[in-house]
Point group: C2
Amino acid sequence: MTQDTADRARGLVHQTMVFEDGITLDCGVHIRPLRVAYRTYGRLNEERSNAILICHALTGDQYVAETHPLTGKPGWWQLLVGPGRPVDTERFFVVCANVLGGCMGSTGPNTEMTDETGRGLGRPWGIDFPPVTIRDMVRAQLRLIDALGIGRLFSVIGGSMGGMQVLEWASLFPTRVFSAIPIATAAYHSAQNIAFHEIGRQAIHADPNFHGGRYWEHGVVPARGLAVARMTAHITYLSEEALTRKFGRRLRTGPMLTFSNDLFEVESYLQHQGSTFVRRFDANSYLTITRAMDYFDLAAEHGGSLAAAFRNSPVRFCVVSFSSDWLFPTAMSREIVRALNAAAANVSFVEIASDKGHDAFLLDEPDLFRTVSGFLHGAAERWR
Amino acid sequence: MTQDTADRARGLVHQTMVFEDGITLDCGVHIRPLRVAYRTYGRLNEERSNAILICHALTGDQYVAETHPLTGKPGWWQLLVGPGRPVDTERFFVVCANVLGGCMGSTGPNTEMTDETGRGLGRPWGIDFPPVTIRDMVRAQLRLIDALGIGRLFSVIGGSMGGMQVLEWASLFPTRVFSAIPIATAAYHSAQNIAFHEIGRQAIHADPNFHGGRYWEHGVVPARGLAVARMTAHITYLSEEALTRKFGRRLRTGPMLTFSNDLFEVESYLQHQGSTFVRRFDANSYLTITRAMDYFDLAAEHGGSLAAAFRNSPVRFCVVSFSSDWLFPTAMSREIVRALNAAAANVSFVEIASDKGHDAFLLDEPDLFRTVSGFLHGAAERWR
């Protein structure tokens, strides 16, 4: 394995681990090599008992607690992870990996396509990248955790799709996880969740610059389609209350309707969200990862019983939801908690009152910070 | 005025009234002539006391209670309107007009552009059609009602954008309306409502066949963009419960994930909804009408006071909402009811328990039918 391989496609250098033997995916395809881009914060202690894995969401990446190299913005969970933060990097060794199928250095649609022997074919995978599952993402992370010499993670933490990975970690590798904090997530993607993803995918496919997913051959990106996808998703991340408070019906163009180029502030905001997103994200990755979320159904992986996914689990769970999250509503977290109870697992559940919608897990939510830091402190006392 | 003018653009003959003097819009533009396509059902009685105006929603049209000439499907409100139905066409004279800006025969983006003298310019308005408001739509309907010799409407009924027109009718022309039934609607379009519309508009603009709104010059239609717009809107019409009951996570392609062309049923359904819609709807009309909804803010039209919109109103109101409607939630209907109470208007309010979402107003909802028929019977006894 080699580290610090350049991600030529973007002119960025990501810290990576490369596993030459590759990985066999749920779809049956074997990809080699497997590259996992990751970041670490803090130091692994001698007992190797202080490692925490952070799992990112659909459009997140490994830059969880530092300035993002492309956008120049703070790390996406810098409020939660860092020195003196609830996930205190002066105490914990924090690892975050770009998911398999992502576009920030891990093997995915924008990395070089390889044949069965691992030989590079001089073109990106693009639309030919095989479908991946949340389980595949977790298996790729396990390779990294093994390579880092971490026997058992003190905790695995993630929100939204990150929470799906947390659940999958606890289910697949219960002896490798001491505690787990799935936040604002679900044990399966609902019909409504799938429907919103499908809108985004259709918008990407409808963009003439998509070229059937081979846009790299034409030196273009399907920016407008990807922007519409992002805008759609973004609405689902915000509560009605948050949108109203932030924008209401205010016009960007003045206090009164003029019927000429009137633009409501919420429109202008969404357009901005869409256009900045396309600069840092790859459309084929978006298709791959939304598909992985749609496939996710932990009960179905265990004969239809969610409790069976956690049978005899030694993992300590802290399940967190937000009251105004309508994308992954509290009811979905309750389903997880019920299954954990049915499996006689160790679980605490917190619904945090917030009017910020699904996005709350990324925002300044003191109740979330208190919950995570309290749970980690309690768990540390029981580590053995 | 002439009737039964052919709508050349579609090869369909719509029943229309043409007002040669035209209409001055809220934006200041005067359009002439004004054409209003409409349908009537039942007979106007001698006292002219039995006329009911039905106002249609965003993608509806005048074919409320008969087979649709383009789709061959039943009228969009045939469950509510017809012989022996709650709005009984054996008793009432029912009128429904295609809205100004629509695409089923009324003046709109797909009708012939005219100059100030009313002379045809040999091309459709297309993207150059001026912005219209809900108030403009209602003023156009008033011309039709005048021409039909109806002094006072026994009732005005509509759901969603149709309900906005109902509110505007009662506010603008209180002496012309005896009773009003605004259903699943709001006195203003919220930030979230605007945001969802903006997604649809962006998808249309992103379609290469849109050609800056001049697609008719190229003999194409922006079908993919319009389909994405429709798909997005369609999700907002359905409750999470309705989507789950209808589709859940069922795959169209078989019982198990194969990772090759897997399609969830909800995706296939949305794709179907999108593709059938583009056959009967015009993209520029979609832009025009969604904009009219976004502009709608009845309180803002009255110095910020919704109650002022209904001051001294003689109209009898029956406000109806559905419990699982998250696009126009019950809270929005309550705001209308509070304003009507503050204006000392005559109002009854019903929240109907339904898990079908916003769509419930178009579906087989016995409680809605009982409410409408009961209210109309009660109102009839007080007509004077």
